[in-house]
Symmetry: C2
Subunit: 456 residues, 2 copies
């Protein structure tokens, strides 16, 4: 092996003390969140009933470039950070590519994913405001687990609305959250008005992320000491996830490396937005010309086949409207789609950057994603989450292009999580029972029909 170590960890002294707000360097801001009734832009104060105050302020902040990470959050980060920057020597060898492949591995914590970075901050700010409980939703369960852990650490109660089909299929995910003290309700449920309405319309529904969001938001508003938190899509989430990119850049700086291309999986955009943050800053400031590649599931192709429009963030249509790439808030990926990355929308920041040509995106069928996952697992000895394997697929594609062209490009991808709770999908794959479903244009049209006409 070469002089570059297999893994690079920052020391405790070297770890970032600030988050980076990409909006401060964007040439143009994304369109603001709108009140769904009046279609007027929302201020931080307008968000206070839903989000805690500090998070509301961060959500709309277009100018503050860096936010200090509170000491209490830095202390909590120490339990699961820094994450390693890994040179994928074994994958490079297996691919016989001249490319240099690096990945930032965010899955080495009990939540199994990068989501803990944001959960930590959100639970802390809720505690600081004197709140006693939080509500949220979870699909595959990574986010719910992360927030359960953070709430256990800061001493907050947590109520998680878990998409019913996941609740039933993933009892062990539920058990992890309960071990950390969270209460879990399958969604839709009769604990909210929106849940009751959805059940009345479709008693046998397996639920959706959008529906669980509606329930969690409604529930939080019934208690003054409770607020709602969301683990992706939002600007505040990308802010907290910037720690992935900042750490990556500090570690690569130590190695004298800089990525030619940054690859991430994209569902709501939290991981890719965080990983690429400071590299995109360089690009926006004209210091680098890095390519940014989002890899999304062909079964839920918000970037590659969605519309750039104002849409609701939830199925129940009680949240603000966000301008983003969307498949329509009623869109549901096919039931055979494994893992997460099933959200109908996309981070407004990433949507704007994609719309303005700063990023690329591809959509991949899941059998190809699992091919990449297993090749990676055998060589790099980490079992990736299906979500993360989308990024692996993208990185492998880039490395194979280098093999063809003979270029020794530097590829950085985000390995967001581990697949220990996704073994049913791996079993299906191992047994040749995995199938793909690419939505037809007609199926997409049904989702598009639910996008409201705001005229904006």
């Amino acid at each position: 092996m070469a002089n570059i170590p297999y893994k690079t960890y920052l020391t405790e002294q070297e770890t970032p003390k600030q988050w980076y707000n990409l909006r401060a360097d964007m040439k143009e801001q994304h369109a603001p969140l709108l009140n769904p009734g009046t279609l007027e832009p929302l201020s931080a104060e307008d968000l206070y009933p839903v989000f805690c105050e500090k998070l509301s302020q961060m959500e709309v902040d277009e100018t503050t470039r860096y936010f200090d990470i509170p000491q209490e959050v830095q202390d909590y980060y120490k339990t699961f950070r820094p994450s390693p920057l890994v040179r994928a020597y074994n994958l490079e060898k297996a691919l016989d590519t001249p490319a240099k492949i690096y990945f930032k591995f965010e899955g080495n914590n009990t939540s199994g994913s990068h989501k803990l970075n944001a959960a930590a901050a959100m639970a802390y700010y809720a505690k600081e405001q004197g709140l006693t409980s939080l509500t949220t939703e979870t699909g595959a369960g990574q986010w719910g687990t992360a927030l359960s852990m953070a709430c256990a650490f800061y001493g907050l109660d947590l109520l998680v609305y878990m998409v019913k089909v996941s609740y039933e299929q993933k009892p062990f995910r539920k058990a992890v959250m309960e071990t950390f003290g969270a209460s879990i309700i399958p969604s839709p449920s009769d604990t909210t008005e929106v849940g009751k309405a959805i059940l009345a319309k479709n008693p046998n529904t397996g639920g959706s992320l959008g529906c669980a969001i509606s329930e969690a938001v409604e529930k939080s508003m019934s208690d003054d000491k409770c607020r709602y938190v969301l683990g992706s899509v939002l600007n505040q989430v990308l802010l907290f996830q910037s720690i992935i990119g900042i750490e990556s850049k500090l570690a690569m700086d130590k190695l004298g490396e800089y990525p030619d291309v940054v690859v991430g999986c994209a569902g709501g955009g939290s991981n890719l937005g965080g990983l690429m943050s400071v590299y995109m800053q360089d690009k926006l400031l004209g210091k680098a010309n890095t390519r940014f590649l989002a890899v999304e599931p062909a079964s839920c192709p918000s970037f590659t086949r969605g519309k750039y429009a104002y849409d609701f963030c939830d199925t129940g249509r009680i949240t603000p409207l966000a301008k983003m790439y969307t498949l329509g808030s009623d869109f549901m990926p096919s039931a055979n789609h494994a893992g997460g990355l099933r959200y109908h929308g996309m981070s407004p920041i990433l949507s704007k950057l994609y719309h303005d040509g700063y990023m690329e995106a591809i959509a991949v069928e899941q059998t190809k994603v699992f091919d990449a996952a297993v090749l990676f697992a055998k060589n790099e000895q980490i079992l990736p989450a299906p979500e993360s394997a989308h990024a692996i697929y993208g990185a492998i594609e880039e490395a194979l292009k280098c093999k063809e062209s003979g270029e020794a490009k530097t590829i950085l991808f985000g390995l967001t999580g581990t697949g220990y709770f996704d073994m049913q999908a791996y079993m299906n794959y191992n047994e040749g029972k995995m199938s793909d479903h690419i939505p037809t244009d007609e199926e997409l049209a049904q989702g598009f029909a639910t996008i409201p006409n705001t005229g904006k």
Copy 2:
């Protein structure tokens, strides 16, 4: 927080390049392995039909103090090592103890445990000898997963006999092994003579580790390019696991720390033997007076209630005899016992050290173990394996003694693995359905009756 960082990682340059063989410093050697037919001591050559040659030589080596770690194994270790040495500041605070608690976390890899340290070496030496396949057994699945990963890395076929009850209860463990390319057979099976005999006697048996060992050994002997490997108990395993202790000591040296007490869970002894290795060396050489504490399940109490005698390593009675603390090769822990640590015997090296007064041992009921696991999880944000939680329990007990006495002792324990595949046990615990079973003297007597009378 103090100046000592929360986590300490060695750099690639600092990582150990040799394993340490504790036998080279023991005042007295443990009694040798015996041929079960002739009761004569076994040489390395005698073991060649079962183990590959290098491993056989290591198994009986009493004098070589250090073995070089082959470069190929060092390179493989880089994919999952070094492991962090963690200062458990949050647990200390929760316990309000003056003790300083450190743990060495070996669970941050896809196998979820320390077992990969030995699997790496064993697969490498098998490959080096020109073998094409290995057989082994697995109970809870940690060892089988580790060996699956190592065999995938070195390009060896692997056949795993999985205790039938685990095979049925843990399909996801099986799926992980299959993802890495291993073949899994529930044991007892009709693929071996010993399996057929056990099935004839008891068609509905759920199997046992001892029985799966018998099958794996028999199967390996039917193919000249195949050998058997065992993930615990053996001297070679303790040798490979010494990397845990060596890394711990190097990291603690950097911090200016030295443990007053070293705590580990004990099933077959591989983790505790590895963790304590170089600290026990200091004790044997009169350089330190560290206490060593083994924590075992009350339901399988080899150290605390077993006999120190020659016994078979397997239920089928086809392996050599080892002088060790044993409950009898027919002993089966109660079905309500969660996780691993269910082996009837104990490492001959640890057995000898315990017999000679160099170590202490306690046995703990599993509900108390899970109390400790959940307290740890909420504060240190790692979900431990039930096995590992025995060590947590022991460390907490020591820390609480310090609280009473006011002493600021330094405690080091081994956190061997994560509990992602043990959620059924956590669910039982969370729901108040976990029970304990301490074997009665009569139950133990039944096991003792199966210990052969060798007169030695």
